[in-house]
């Protein structure tokens, strides 16, 4: 990564030298959450040891420092995404909250009875259920962009069935199950040409390669800090300023107001209109430290290493008899879902855990996709830049062991 070896980079992550059930930890569950480098842990600790205060209120040194740090990190996120203004960067609890914010506030303002919200057959529940709720509230219907057998979106089918009632397209950038990287730029162009706005779920993309909202042209982008080396409980909603301006507030409380009377209130300016209550200052500082850390490694290097790991893992897993890999899109992220014969994914994960290997097993919050694949669940190995080829070899060997154990 840059000039650094993976062994050197691993030294930045205290957790990576621990053992699990007497074996060295092989952490292959990065799509669920990433591990944290010392730089992020230190930034949070230093904030609490030297700079803790509430933001946007206190007229004392600590309050001013905390506010400056909080806002400085908002600026960092803005530059990271290539957004045009800090007003377009809303701190949220995570991807889920960011999408719910849009489904509620944008939905209340812009969805009308009979409108269509277009999602895809590969969405995480967090980019499906909020739209189910919004559609139920507003009398709208959901439509789905179908998948092709290799796990890519069937855009031709989507275009054929597109109606002029489609108001919004909500889709994931990278599938957390199939690994498919969707061409969100092309889809945004199609949607905009037909008068629909676009929300991109960046939970699985932003941690792994540069995501430029100006280049994509999307109207909203949501992602979480904890999947990109930052802490849990912080996430980002990027929204085009013009849209955010027109949206009513979502949650009410402190900070989001301008003036409050007994019966009514007026709203604060962007982005504070959408940030009711004391924000997660620690989280914003941790996220900013994570962005700096990733920049230090250089995204092209991160992307190249993860692509190599994924290619190697696909090869090694293909050597295993009776192993099925789900998804074969030409452009894929560092996520591999699989099943091993008739062995239940939970049994696979339990066996791998015994060997110190952490993977995810289950429906991955994508039950509709599991039904399409006609499986109750899958096991999933997902990689980060701190993973190694030898960890993938251990995964391969442990899977052979599991096949024998459950035979």
């Amino acid at each position: 990564m840059g000039a650094r070896t993976v062994e050197d980079v691993r030294e930045d992550f205290p957790i990576l030298d621990r053992t699990v059930h007497g074996r060295p930890l092989a952490y292959l569950d990065n799509a669920a959450t990433s591990q944290k480098p010392r730089a992020v842990l230190d930034a949070i600790r230093v904030y609490y040891e030297r700079g803790n205060a509430n933001v946007h209120r206190a007229l004392h040194a600590l309050g001013e420092e905390a506010t400056a740090a909080f806002e400085q990190n908002r600026g960092k996120v803005q530059r990271f995404l290539n957004a045009s203004s800090k007003r377009e960067i809303v701190f949220t609890r995570g991807t889920t909250e960011a999408i719910n914010l849009v489904a509620s506030a944008w939905g209340d303002r812009f969805l009308k009875k009979g409108d269509v919200v277009l999602v895809t057959d590969m969405e995480h529940h967090s980019n499906l259920v909020p739209w189910q709720l919004a559609c139920a509230r507003k009398g709208c219907t959901l439509a789905f962009i179908p998948l092709m057998p290799d796990g890519q979106l069937d855009l031709a089918a989507a275009e054929r069935e597109w109606t002029d009632r489609v108001r919004l397209v909500a889709l994931t950038h990278v599938s957390n199950v199939l690994g498919t990287v969707n061409d969100v730029k092309a889809i945004t162009a199609i949607a905009h040409a037909r008068g629909a706005v676009v929300l991109v779920d960046g939970a699985q993309s932003v941690p792994h390669f540069r995501v430029d909202v100006a280049d994509i042209g999307c109207d909203f982008l949501a992602f979480s800090g904890h999947k990109m080396c930052g802490p849990m409980g912080i996430g980002i909603l990027y929204g085009r300023e013009q849209l955010l301006e027109q949206m009513p507030p979502w949650m009410g409380g402190g900070e989001m107001i301008s003036a409050v009377w007994r019966e009514k209130s007026t709203w604060n300016e962007l982005p504070y209109k959408f940030e009711a209550g004391t924000p997660n200052v620690e989280g914003a500082i941790g996220l900013g430290a994570a962005i700096d850390y990733l920049h230090g490694l250089e995204f092209p290097a991160i992307e190249a290493w993860e692509a190599e790991l994924t290619r190697y893992a696909l090869g090694r897993l293909s050597e295993i008899p009776a192993l099925t890999i789900y998804g074969a899109a030409p452009r894929r992220g560092a996520v591999i879902s699989f099943n091993l014969g008739a062995i239940h994914a939970h049994d696979i994960a339990q066996y791998l855990d015994k060997e110190g290997i952490a993977v995810r097993a289950g429906h991955h919050c994508a039950q509709p996709l599991m039904r399409l694949l006609d499986v109750p669940g899958t096991a999933r190995a997902s990689f980060s830049f701190y993973n190694t080829f030898s960890e993938i070899d251990r995964l391969h060997d442990a899977l052979l062991g599991a096949a024998e154990f459950y035979a």
């Binding site: 239940h344 049994d347 855990d353 289950g362 039950q367 509709p368 109750p376 154990f405 459950y406």
Partner: protein, 162 residues
Amino acid sequence: MNAFDDLYQEIVLDHYRSPRNKARLDDVPESMVHENPSCGDSIKLEVVVNDDGKLQGVRFDGRGCAISTASASLMTEKLKGLTVVEARAYAEQFIRSLRGDAPVEALDDMGDLAAFKGVAQFPVRVKCATLAWHALLLSLPKAGVPKAAEAAPGTPRGLDGR
């Protein structure tokens, strides 16, 4: 014994590899399918009750992990000859012990089911071990009612109705 071996004891693996009383139960209505949404497992039961109110036989159909399959298989063996009331109490005792609502040692008095004591160390897997037993509570005729009376409806189905 380490936790993993404690979880997958030989008797559990035996019942997983050769489940007893497992059959295609196409006649059991879809509404009686019991599911664990967190792992996609599903199970349905056929419970045959004699005129004297005793369970003549229980068969199961479905898909699940080693733990849930073995638990279903062992359950079908344990229930034979119990009255409906006894079977219900038995199931409730098993579920309570695994959930930690009763001492896990209670499983020692349940014969082969003691093999599931290790599951209590894996909170996520407790649902697997108890799935068949929850299905049983749904499938048993109401207490004291002889014959396989209409049982309570199953859990709500997914969006696509499957």
